[in-house]
């Protein structure tokens, strides 16, 4: 895990970006403030990215490989684009970070998570999807990035 963080740090420094997730969380752990959220940790640049490549570069400083070991649970057709339940889980070892991206949203990155050791690579959240889109799940395991994606159809409701 330490290796992954320092690798990320180097990548970030070389990329000249301000907000690498791994590096930032390392600081959070050092600060160890219980039950408080630190706004300074927010990877603002990554959340402003408009493509998957740019968002992942800013967030992790590296590019992902395709993996079949990520379970991305999304509905085929969303009931309501404003509340789309998304679950992701992974059997990959030593998962340190996870992220969800929606390629057709104005900003690509939807959410990202940094996991402490012992936290399971398994989570469920709800996203807004502007239109029919590929949703991408990214997992950082043993310092490497993996991704998988699935389409979600977003229909216009008829019953205003």
């Amino acid at each position: 895990m330490n290796g992954s963080i320092s690798a990320s740090r180097r990548a970030v420094l070389s990329a000249g970006a301000a907000g690498a997730l791994s590096a930032l969380i390392a600081r959070a752990a050092e600060a160890a403030a219980p039950a408080a959220a630190d706004a300074k940790l927010y990877p603002t640049a990554a959340f402003g990215a408009k493509t998957e490549v740019a968002a992942l570069k800013l967030l992790f400083g590296k590019a992902p490989k395709a993996s079949s070991k990520i379970d991305l649970g999304v509905p085929e057709i969303a009931e309501n684009g404003a509340v789309v339940p998304v679950t992701m889980a992974s059997g990959l070892p030593n998962v340190t970070a996870m992220a969800l991206l929606s390629l057709e949203n104005p900003y690509t990155l939807a959410c990202a998570y940094r996991l402490a050791p012992g936290t399971l690579a398994h989570m469920s959240s709800r996203l807004k999807l502007a239109k029919t889109t590929k949703v991408v799940a990214v997992v950082e395991s043993n310092g490497a990035l993996y991704r998988t994606s699935r389409m979600v159809k977003v229909t216009l409701g008829g019953c205003g």
Binding site: P75, I77, E79, N80, P85, G157, G158, C159, G160
Partner: protein, 276 residues
């Protein structure tokens, strides 16, 4: 001559049926219609509305129900319900059983005013009786109090009584006429969607069956992002068919809710609900 007599009888029969409202017979026919449409679906399941017709939508709903989005409304509603009025009384003093577990008995016909009283209207009446202003009938605090009172009634079987009196039956019949009358520029009745085509889609949305449709209200609707009462949905439905909505406390909506809920007698209260 005999042929004429038969014809007269045939013409007279529907008129006679129309003359005497019979909620029990209506309910049997209404529920029978849905049994005919969906022979496999148990009666109590109708309260799940559109989620009976799509496994994927049902799965999304069940995920959302893990920690339902109306949770805040129920908590807030309980706080409001438990708070004292300036005169020291509270909502509990206005209702039988202290207002707990009674949603299945609403709407009721009030013989004094000759009007149907829905649960949200009863909540407002309680406020007025204790010198407080009425709350908005569609959303906000009143929907939250409604949500809490309905939550305490979950599982109770809907038991709307239509007294065998002329004014009560007239209100019931007016609600029935409203439900089946086509209106609005699109020429739809409530029945066009929710009786004739439940389970079918209107663009992205699945139509809920009219049977059991009232059991989940008030609802947290994702589209609204907050709670709404049944009347709020009536207003939305009317706008959908390009029909100018009635006022939230109008007799039209009260009577409609009276008829519609009476058709679901015997089904369990499932509210508050979550819908897309």
């Amino acid at each position: 001559m005999r042929r004429w007599l038969l014809l007269l009888l045939a013409l007279a029969a529907p008129v006679a049926a129309a003359a005497a409202p019979n909620p029990a017979a209506d309910r049997a026919a209404f529920q029978g219609w849905f049994r005919h449409l969906f022979p496999q679906l148990p009666l109590a399941k109708y309260v799940d509305g559109p989620y009976n017709f799509s496994a994927s939508e049902r799965a999304q709903w069940q995920q959302i129900m893990e920690l339902p989005p109306y949770g805040f409304a129920v908590d807030h509603g309980k706080a409001l319900f438990d708070a004292r009025f300036p005169d020291g009384a509270g909502y509990a003093s206005c209702f039988p059983h202290g207002g707990i577990g009674i949603a299945q008995d609403y709407p009721q016909f009030d013989p004094k005013t000759g009007r149907v009283v829905t649960l949200p209207i009863a909540i407002n009446r309680c406020r007025v009786a204790h010198g407080l202003p009425k709350l908005k009938l569609t959303t906000g605090d009143l929907a939250d109090i409604d949500a809490y009172m309905v939550r305490t009634s979950r599982g109770h079987k809907i038991d709307v009584v239509v007294p065998d009196t002329k004014p009560a039956l007239a209100a019931y019949e007016a609600g029935k006429e409203y439900f089946y009358s086509r209106r609005g520029q699109l020429n739809f009745s409530c029945a066009s969607c929710h009786l004739q085509y439940p389970g079918h889609r209107v663009r992205g949305d699945t139509l809920a069956p009219a049977l059991g449709i009232t059991a989940s209200f008030p609802i947290y609707r994702s589209k609204w992002g907050n709670m709404g009462t049944l009347v709020r949905r009536f207003i939305g439905c009317n706008k959908n068919i390009r029909s100018a909505p009635d006022k939230p406390d109008s007799l039209a909506y009260r009577d409609l809710e009276y008829f519609l809920t009476a058709m679901s007698n015997g089904l369990p209260i499932a509210g508050p609900g979550a819908r897309p």
